[in-house]
Amino acid sequence: MRHSIFNLVRQAFAGNQGWPRQWRSPAPKRAYDMIVVGAGGHGLATAYYLAAEHGLRNIAVLEKGWLGGGNTGRNTTIIRSNYLWEESQKLYEHAVQLWEDLSQTLNYNVMYSPRGVMMLAHTQHDVQSFQRHIHANRLGGIDNEWLTAEQAQAFCPILNIDPSLRYPVIGAALQRRGGTARHDAVAWGYARAADALGVDIIENCTVTGIDRDASGAVSGVQTSRGAIRAARVGVVAAGHSSVLMGMAGVRMPLESYPLQALVSEPVKPVMPCVVMSNTVHAYMSQSDKGELVIGAGTDAYTSYSQTGGLHIAMHTLDAICELFPVVRRMRMLRNWGGIVDVTPDRSPIIGKTPVPGLFVNCGWGTGGFKATPGSGHVFAHTLATGEPHPINAPFSLDRFRTGRLIDEAAAAAVAH
């Protein structure tokens, strides 16, 4: 049943008892053409595009828990594409363009809301770095503009631009097409659309091994629900990528860290956009429900525990309360963590592995949500054709051997 106002009204008169299920709960078959491991946003998007654009129907997505239950449902939902390096720009801009039609494509309102992402500059070094981004983005056809402190405050009226701040706001870079989306809806929308195309989404199915044939190529996976054969396997497992790739004997340039976020109690609209500050480590937006959504940092150590220390939230709220002093009396409602897999250059790995038939999409670190549609789209191409899409070709595992890193983090580092 299509999602529409017509059906909403019709179902309302029927007491909302006629809605069909949004996806099936199939038992795993013994074999598929392709298996995607991990039913987060990226994995589900991969499956959807495999089905929708490459005509593959005999596909399974295996998920050890519930679909969308990992970082997809735990992040602060920021979307932007104003990255520095050309490779990154192309990847994230590809995603933004898909975001713009995603609700219509999936017939599921993912609430993509281009309310603007504003990154604050606090030092001369920030100014130089942001101007470099702005120039690079404009050349790449990506919107990103410089705002003075006063313009930044006009865009976000509760922003404190008092020059006596310890690190005063001296300007900002604004991407107006940046924004947020509803994270759960992204997973559910892709799941529903993929399921409708025949993709089997199999929840509560933990992959325990990756099988290889005599030639060394992938032949299937072992799971908590039995062995499943497939000649191509794509691992899209975020924080657990090292563990899964280890099952195929592939060691990864990854470390997994807890990343925390928190929300306030809901209040009436007070925050019209997304504001980020890398210098004082804070970012905040307001959800449609009214909660202030605040991203905290990663804990210092690798962990799979999905919980971190209170001091991380303390550090973040220090900065939030300075930048937005009217929120100091508001209250933290929920604080949680996800497990993010971080590469040495803070850019993802999307492509082939040394094992024939085994592909990986991982290393999104703290910024994967924004890329969900683009990531799934290019990874589907990679899985379907066996070769990377031009957009993900630079994000190979091999770059750590050649030294051709795509280091967004270093480019923002402070020195001098």
Partner: protein, 954 residues
Amino acid sequence: MIVRQRSGTRLRFSFDGKDYTGVAGDTLASALLANGVHLMGRSFKYHRPRGVLGAGAEEPNALVDVAGPDGRSTPNLRATTVELYDGLRATSQNRYPSLRFDLGAVNGLLSPLLGAGFYYKTFMHPRAAWATLYEPLIRRAAGLGEAPRRPDPDHYAQRYAHCETLVVGAGPAGLLAALTAAQSGERVMVVDEQAVLGGSLLAERRATIAGQPAADWLAATLATLAAMPNVQLLPRTTAFGYYQQNLLGLVERVTDHLAAPDPALPRERLWQVRARDVVLATGAIERPLVFAGNDRPGVMLASAARTYCNRYGVAVGRRVVVFTADDSAYAAALDLQAAGVAVVAIVDLRPDPSGPGVVAARAAGLTVMPGTAVIATTGHWRVTGARLSSNTTLACDALLMGGGWTPSVHLFSQSRGTLRFDAARQIYLPGTPAQRQSSVGGANGVFDLASILAPLAVAGDIPAQGGFLGLVPGSRATGFVDYQNDVKAADILQATQEGFRSIEHVKRYTTTGMATDQGKTSNMNALAIAAAALDLPLPEVGLTSFRTPYTPVTFGSIAGAARGALFDPVRKTPIHPWAEAQGAAFEDVGQWKRAWYFQHIGESMHEAVKRECLTVRRAVGLFDASTLGKIEVVGPDAAEFLNRLYTNSWSKLAVGRCRYGLMLTEAGFVLDDGVVGRLAADRFHVTTTSGGAGRVLAHMEDYLQTEFTDLQVWLTSTTEQWAVIAVQGPRARDLLAPLVEGIDLAAMPHMSVREGRIAGVPTRLFQVSFTGELGYEVNVPAGHALAVWEALWAAGAPYDACAYGTEAMHVLRAEKGYIVVGQETDGTVTPEDLGLGWAVGKAKADFVGKRSLAMMDLQATDRPQLVGLLPAHLPQEGAQIVDRADPPIGSAALGHVTSAYDSATLGRPMALALLAGGRRRMGQTVHITTATGTMPATIVAPVFYDQEGARLDA
């Protein structure tokens, strides 16, 4: 209705602008109820009129905004936990224009349209309408209270503490545990979220403990604990988070309950307590029953009604119906009856209730209706009747629900203990703890006072027993599960029908349990309804995780004192006061404040920088370089250590000479640079960038301690010990000469270091230049730096010396082509890229980063290379470089401008840039992006001034 003499000071307060009176000890909720006010709020989605459900932290309905002086306002406070004080002003929320006449209530009429997840299914066309039309409407309708409009004038404190035993919850179980631990001499902390310690005993008027009324036992026990020096009692303190290794986060509310608090007091105090053992005595929370109309004002938890009656002397109605599946509600009925309230009937879902409460109720003449359900209610602003499954309606003005009790396992679960499901009692209980910790009393599923307080003799208690989960049989599914978020049983049924099979999905799709009460009263009913719909045993539907904090915690208390100047330490050089007095503008560099430029009256920044640059080139200037990182590297293997850490060779550096050193990461990229002087065969004075000092020392220590353990070297940070005054310009030597003792300045070559005295103070005097002019860096002990600076300043007067700031420093060094790490480099740049191949000791067997320089991509010929640019105008730093004047969108950049200045010396703009294969393109024209297009620029060598270096040692 007041049922008992309410002693205590009378307090005036207002709610929605209307004045009322309460008494000391009241909460806002109890005071409003005493005044007959039940309507306290509107629900989130349908704006339904709501009264209190509970009497404590679990309250989902009665959310208010409390205003104070000076713009203090706090939204979303639960009226049940707001302590009354004289002059308190509270207002209701989420209604327009008033609580009684709320236009948002129209949503209630549309509720069939607004079922679970409705917003995922519509608002999609036309595409742009979501962000421009639908979303703004939804955002305005959503939210609860209003965020404060003014910055918070209060302050917050933080404390750390340690103890042997931390007891969370000062009810009977907690107090007994505290007493036991305290009597063994341990340091004990007892925390409780309420203003008064005692927990359930505060509302206990039936039971006796050790032969005395419960209240007397409580008073005596509290007096005993209070008198023990090893016991700390913290009321108004919520344990909100349980972290690793028995670290708990507590928040103590210090002033919110005071009418006129001492301004010196913090509003709240955040405690971080590390305890050897933790006792969780967090009690249990009563559940509502889910049936149609279970949310009308006047429908509330039986335990809440009992608390209002016994503790606050307030009856929640004159004619009450009790609807229960649990014995403890009988205690409420009996207590209300004893207080003079008419108890119409006790409607019990159970076919054959038989506990002591039932016996006592029957003996007291109360009507017990077993095997009966309330399936609907009547009333609007207040419940007026309860319709029974037997098809009769009982008139009432309050309906009390006893759905059974849910142990408060929040903290246990946060501590990563595993929960176990007690299928017989349908409750989750603490299972295996993950830390040194125990759960006692209600939190552990022990509800009878006799067991909790054993071996003390307890009589007259009516313990909780029984309970019911899910939709009440016979009721329509319009009953509310999550009151605050307006989630009905029907929403949960719809979610399961749409294929949401785990409680995590059901929760997110329906938003049940996601309100500000985090599902304290709703989660178990939601689980049960979902489990029944899916025909699964309850545990198989899963359990949503218990996230911190237990109840919401003020941002301000978490941020604490880290605000204003205390947000982050400010580092100032010893010369800072002088610069400040001269009116210098400062820039933030890491934690340092550095003098940026010295503006004379009437000058613009540009003019000031121009003057400073020209003065240095023409005469001499003084520059405060004290922020430079300094590390003393000492030991027999010091030179070998530097050989391995820097690209350069150090073995042959003579004592008294200096060298520019370049340090790489192991990945082969430039990490830091700086001048290194050799003071003795075994002693080096290493300088680093200002921002890199800590990083470089950690990097050095890492290799010294863990890789190059064969070397005998000691590292000491001396950044704060040595202040540095750069004296640069053709008259530098003339300026210094009269002040220097023990050093033959004339005999000092460029790149040398001598020890002697200056202005009477010991110095390490470097002859080095970061401007291209003859230059010195005067290192003096920090305590003497200001005096030395002033002496140099005085000595410079005859030469018309200036003080210059970081901006002029940057211009001067750029004219000379000297790089700044972090500006010409960005973590992806190699020495060869910068034209610093000469500084790489290729003959050395090894140094950190050497092997990586041989990686394929680091050897590529199209890598960015440092060049100079002569642009038509001043470009922006960061501007991109392209081949064409009109690059099409999506053009690849050839590189970017790293530094750009309007050079007074050259009389024209100049820039440094990293440009792909740049050194092969000298003399060619490229184009630099501007805000509106591009500008042309000619590629030149990256040294614009004195290419021969003749002025360095002039």
